[in-house]
Symmetry: C2
């Protein structure tokens, strides 16, 4: 077991994010025990500390889904090939990365079964069966599950063969309702990111070339990582009548006429945790916003012998006391030095550290250290719960402010292809400017610079010319290199 | 839409359980909208009303798992064939029903991947990596997921190709700890069944022939269904060192010696909902214990025109008021008659119905109808919340008492093979008696009568001779035909 003198070595275990952000990310997700690599291509194991972040994500979103009238359900993992083939654009978008089940025991299956890459193709046929009349609409269902897309590369949370997510699937009687639903759910995601994850995101519409295969319109919230690259943090699709027609989701309206329904789908995956890590993390590891943190306060008692015993006793009392207002962990292992523990809990992103030693005991105080700023403050043991609660609130707010400031400061107005390239190749965030609306122009930028249009923000700015081709601008858009 | 006069037809929609219990079950799960059949062999769709029961199962168990020190995690869905082959008995037990993934996109995979039938074979190798020292033990992890076993027959919740479950996997330094853990988790299941599901279960040990493939000992809780057949409601396995040896889960003990760890696994699946339905249900459909019911009280307003409007207004107020103490639904749809609604909510097992009409309004009262007994009682609108809370408690208790009584009254002492056959072939529940401990004798009974030894109850009764062969008895056991 590492003892004193190992502190330095410990910090060296993760790469410097300013030098190699990518290696830093991989180091942090493993050393903080969020994940481990599995002995299956492209798959990871979601370890308890990481999974706890997902449980909080689920709880926060699920409460919002239910508040907006949705219910959970569960549809089969396996989709017969013939079902997947029914929506043409959808097939083209997903089949290259589908895993196929061809055998059950020793028997060769008559029809191949796809492991769901997404569930439209199995949910559509069920909705078709459940919907007859306008009275059966809307259907507002969400599913928490895992899906598989056979990716070559693995990047924990960001690109994995199997991933955990939620997928909402709704059916409506009118185009207006479906449109309202797609926007409502995008707003749920925005609210979740802002108020739980402390991440500032830009909501907007995807260009046609970046739409979900088969969708009428795709909306996204886009976040900005610590290295200046963008990340699509969640999407919401207005599927129009495409899937309703492919899967025959039809209803009799009040006039007795048969109509095709209008459907939507929307999803957020464990990518969200990738964003959490890359937005807030720093050279010492994870920085977790208090609302997401599995442990909000870690207590580290300092001191040995008889003094140490008195300190530990008090530490246990403080844990009890603070347990009323926060998720508290007492690290009283004796095989590690306090310094080692400080590093270990900083790596794991615990928002607040409480240190208590023999002198603190005599002076009836303790030391609180903020993970977000590193600030240390002495605090009386009286009223500590009030102090801790206030600090956790401040940390949450500060992280959101920081994230918002980064988005604002890293959004640079551009007026030419050279400027787009300058901003995005240096990974300085979003290159913001006019776009003519032409897919060929969009593709040209991508090929020249590697940057894509992240979205067409709802909050439009006045633009005159297309920054890429100089033609007349139709939209204000954000370009960036993205994960 | 069915209007008045349809009430009778509605009740006829489900089979009489006294005549055809099996058909009754299939009718109930579909008509109550718990599930629908999926267009994939052996798979079902878990609809919102059914899934809600699963969410409550998850919440109740998860809280107990965490209280006993476990954390959740998530391991990959796909297991390389070579991993599955490492524990011999395990392989033999599971490979006949494994689904194999052989292609990714157009590419043929170098090694086949099994869709997990259970996760020992993917979790073992990870624990091997995580455990080095005795300090790394115990590992106490649970996973909520779906698993697939390629079954020919489909019986919703009881026998499906894909099913939802939880699987706990723990590793310990000593045989004693692993044994304690297996028993602790069986007790968690017993407590869950008794205190949430209102189901009386018999905890005990499985015979060697009914053990989990590769386990040292398997424990189960056994429940008794409305038709007198038994159902294995959950299992907990002490895996000894078999899996630790196969997957090399080893640790250095305090003396610096390399030791094999001791592991356990334990699981409960959506079969639990099959038990819920078959233990409590009756000729009118589901009967849900209040703690599990998605809707605990349904309010049905009665009356038309101006009277009806006043009734509805009051019904909405009552819903608000009762919402503080119960999960309340107001059914104010005007396209259905009150009688139709009564049937519909009885079918769905709602514990308490509140009827309110114009006369009730004048007399400031309402009518409460218990689903478990059919009892009707007038109640003042004053103090209704207290009344409702008390009634829900009584219903929960009554259902448990009923379930316990059934187990007690349906446990018949047997002293001969003929008696075992008489009890079990008439599906009169458990045939209880002595068993010599010989697997051949056990198998003989199975072949002659179709009954299996459900378990060797922890609570042993004095026995003298083996009821099956007349030899010396080693254990008191329960035989039954089982699902």
């Amino acid at each position: 077991m590492p003892k004193g003198g190992k502190d330095k070595e410990f910090v060296r275990e993760i790469a410097d994010p300013a030098v190699d952000f990518s290696q830093w990310y991989v180091d942090v997700v493993q050393k903080a025990e969020l994940i481990d690599y599995a002995p299956v291509r492209g798959c990871i194991v979601f370890r308890p500390y990481g999974y706890n972040l997902w449980e909080r994500t689920q709880a926060a979103l699920d409460q919002r889904f239910k508040a907006t009238g949705h219910q959970n359900a569960y549809f089969p993992l396996l989709i017969p090939e013939s079902f997947l083939l029914r929506e043409q654009q959808h097939v083209a978008g997903f089949t290259p990365e589908v895993l196929w089940v061809t055998m059950g025991g020793d028997e060769i299956l008559q029809e191949r079964l796809a492991i769901r890459p997404t569930s439209e193709a199995i949910i559509g046929p069920m909705y078709s069966r459940w919907v007859q009349s306008y009275r059966d609409l809307p259907i507002l269902i969400n599913q928490w599950c895992s899906v598989v897309r056979w990716e070559k590369a693995t990047r924990p949370f960001l690109r994995t063969a199997e991933f955990l997510w939620q997928e909402g699937h709704t059916a409506h009687a009118t185009a207006e309702e479906a449109q309202e639903e797609s926007l409502r759910m995008l707003e749920v995601y925005r609210d979740f990111y802002e108020n739980e994850m402390a991440i500032w995101v830009v909501p907007g519409q995807k260009t046609d070339s970046e739409k979900f295969p088969g969708a009428l319109r795709t909306y996204s919230v886009e976040a900005l990582m610590g290295d200046g690259r963008a990340l699509q943090a969640a999407t919401s699709h207005n599927l129009g009548q495409n899937f309703a027609q492919a899967y025959e989701i039809r209803y009799l309206d009040q006039a007795g006429q048969l109509q095709d329904a209008w459907t939507t789908s929307w999803g957020l995956s464990w990518r969200a945790l990738g964003a959490l890590i890359m937005v807030h993390g720093d050279a010492r590891g994870l920085v977790l916003p208090p609302k997401m943190a599995p442990i909000q306060v870690v207590i580290v008692p300092i001191g040995q012998g008889a003094d140490g015993e008195a300190v530990r006793t008090r530490a246990r009392q403080l844990k009890e006391q603070l347990g009323e207002v926060a998720r508290v962990h007492l690290d009283d292992r004796d095989e590690y030095t306090p310094g080692w523990k400080f590093n270990a809990w900083e790596l794991r992103g615990v928002p607040l550290r409480l240190e208590i030693g023999p002198r603190d005991l005599r002076e009836h105080q303790c030391v609180l250290v903020r993970r977000d700023t590193g600030d240390k403050l002495s605090s009386s043991q009286e009223g500590l719960d009030v102090q801790v609660r206030a600090l956790l609130g401040e940390i949450q707010d500060n992280l959101l402010r920081r994230s918002r400031r980064r988005v604002e400061e890293s959004t640079t107005e551009v007026h030419s292809l050279a400027e787009i390239e300058a901003v995005t190749s240096a990974r300085q965030g979003f290159a913001a400017g006019g776009w003519c609306g032409d897919a060929a122009c969009e593709e040209h930028v991508r090929q020249e610079t590697g940057a894509t249009i992240r979205n067409i923000p709802f909050q439009q700015q006045p633009v005159d010319r297309c920054a890429a081709c100089g033609g007349e601008a139709k939209h204000y858009v954000l370009w960036a290199r993205a994960y």
